[in-house]
Amino acid sequence: MTILIQGGHVIDPGQLNGVADVLIENGKVVGVGSQLMAKATGKTDAIHVIDARNKLVLPGFVDLHVHLREPGFEYKETIKSGTAAAAAGGFTSVCCMPNTHPVNDSQAITEFILEQARIAGNACVFPVGAITKGSEGKELAEIGDLRRAGCVAISDDGQPVMNSMVMRRAMEYALAFDVPVIDHCEDLHLSEGGCMNEGIVSTQLGLQGVPAAAEDVMVSRNLALAELTGGRLHLAHLSTVGSVRMVREAKARGIRVTAEACPHHFTLTEEAVRGFNTLAKMNPPLRTWDDVQAIKEGLRDGTIDVIATDHAPHAGQEKQQEFAAAPNGIVGLETAFPLTLALVDEGVLTLEAAVEKLTTAPAKAFSLSKGSLAVGADADVAIVDLHETWEIDPSRFRSKSRNTPFAGWKVKGRVRTTLLGGRIVYQVED
């Protein structure tokens, strides 16, 4: 099968930014350039031409942080539905966190996830294994086995590794497999009982707050341990002024650290919680305007390498509970692209930099051979309309869950077509 994506504006960060055709054969990119039709017509098999004029042609997006919920919480999401949501959002590679039930702390669970992903065929799934057995923060999981089975990073996501000695050993041990160690930075003593950012809004609503310091002290600890061990550290979902400042300083000193930010943390503030809106409840919580500015500045100057969604599906009845009882998190795969593009409109990022944060940068952080349209690369492609405005309608989500605070938002920029290994896995229905 030969596919020709014709006449689009191709952005392959660091490689190409201009109008070009993309020629795909047998699931791989075989040519990027002008007038590739002639080259294609030499082939004997049928050519499928995709007209991409007035569209952007991008590497399929790479999300380092999703929760696919399977095994264990299939009522929230399955690998099939979660990867369908990924495709609808332009994501062709997703890294799924191990806080399933059972926790992905073994080769068997990793293989199960990979098998389900292969059957679904909607996106490449790269499992993230647990750092500690059962993510209990005590004994190291079989990290070598996890790596060999296909895990691309390790994390006890949802929980920090509170014990600093365990974290030190994990970072050292992981060096043997060259695998990044991800931490969800939260001091559980400082955050205990908290369900939103600590500040004027938590005071007015009478909700227990989580101070920014709960994140900052753990970021600081993790950076010190990265310096001590020389390990590869990746910091999940930064949300505070302090985190950004410390990561910036650490990078300047040459510490091996990468960091991600989520669209909700650069789009919304704690004000969204007013009215006890459980759709604005996440961990780390939505913070203040100053924090949002710091996250944007971190994205702009490269302190924050990656935009990741922290896609966290929850069933309707779970979010309909009292605020403190409702679970943390929102779905993000199907809204990330337009929310990222808003940073381009605001002048925070160039278009190419925005694409980089969704493609080449995350691929590099976890050493995935994804996120590029270079000749020889897997033909994972997102074709998007930069100017189309549309209204976010959760009832049309591919995800099993609808928990988003962005319902009804008019946004600009829409994923029209997604290809995975040269196969169309998503096409917008008009």
Binding site: I200, Q204, L205, G206, L207, E322, F323
Partner: protein, 307 residues
């Protein structure tokens, strides 16, 4: 004028005029509670459900009495003897109650926002009888009613709220109510018991009780939640009492005719000395009496009555 709200979930969403309207309506009900036959037919045929997920004697009884004096039918629902223990959600419980044609649900819940969540989910009127640390609007209303009765003018009144402000719904509702009506509010307590950015609520903060009591007209003592000891909010009850307990000597720092209030139940000898609780400055029992009249007014106005 009737109250243009389906629910009363907090003071924060009321205007000063609406607060005054409730208090003025309560005036006439206070007169009713002083009669030999303490009953009017205003809510005859209406059903009021007290849905209390937290133990409460005084507030529940006060609402029950208020509803009965308005001739409503009253049902008390509490989690220990309902299906809640079987895992039913708050919303499902409330919808079942609503299906029995409850006109007003009075909700007490340990989770902040429970009343607002419920109000959005049911057609019945919802009255917040205390939700977590968020609000306890009828307590603030009865406190204002009592102050108005004793002092008449709320504007310019200096009020000190003393104790664990961070974990107090009574403090929040009173801060909103008093500042809306032009009183000068200060909060007094250890820094560990002050919520973040509390000064942005329009109050002054004092960590020293002696300073905080100077020239105040009203002292509102908050109950010390003794079970919070060991959570690093204060050291010992002994030290708390020495630093923040209201004694006769300290009362002299306030204005000569200062009033002492407490939402109850009091810890005698901890936050308040017995001789103050029982003394001439104390209006603690007036608060309880007035609670019934104020709750009658709220029930009446929410069921469409014109004050």
């Amino acid at each position: 004028m009737s109250l243009k709200h389906k629910d009363l979930t907090g003071i924060a969403s009321l205007t000063a005029d609406e607060i005054m309207h409730i208090l003025e309506t309560a005036d006439s009900f206070k007169e009713v509670t002083g009669r030999e036959i303490k009953k009017v037919p205003a809510l005859r045929g209406k059903t009021v459900v007290n849905l209390f997920f937290e133990p409460s004697t005084r507030t529940r009884t006060s609402f029950e009495l208020a509803a009965k004096r308005l001739s409503a039918d009253v049902i008390n629902f509490s989690p220990s003897n309902s299906s809640v223990v079987k895992g039913e959600t708050l919303l499902d419980t409330a919808r079942n109650i609503e299906a029995m044609q409850a006109d007003i649900i009075v909700l007490r819940h340990s989770s902040a926002g429970a009343a607002e969540t419920l109000a959005r989910g049911v057609k019945s009127s919802v009255i917040n009888a205390g939700d977590g640390w968020h609000e306890h609007p009828t307590q603030a209303l009865l406190d204002l009613f009592t102050l108005r009765e004793k002092k008449l003018e709320l504007t310019g009144l200096n009020v000190a709220i003393v104790g664990d402000v961070a974990h107090s719904r009574v403090a929040r509702s009173n801060i909103y109510a008093l500042t809306k009506l032009g009183a000068n509010v200060r909060v007094v307590g250890p820094p560990t018991m002050m919520p973040a950015c509390v000064e942005r609520l329009g109050v002054k903060v004092h960590y020293d009780l002696d300073q905080g009591l100077r020239d105040v007209d009203v002292i509102m003592m908050l109950r010390l939640q003794l079970e919070r000891q060991g959570r690093a909010l204060f050291s010992t009850i002994r030290e708390y009492s020495r630093l923040y307990g209201l004694t006769p000597e300290r009362l002299k720092l306030a204005k000569p005719n200062a009033l002492v209030m407490h939402p109850g139940p009091i810890n005698r000898g901890v936050e308040i000395a017995p001789e103050i609780a029982d003394g001439f400055s104390s209006v603690i029992l007036d608060q309880v009496t007035n609670g019934v009249a104020v709750r009658m007014a709220v029930l009446y106005l929410l069921s469409g009555g014109n004050g």
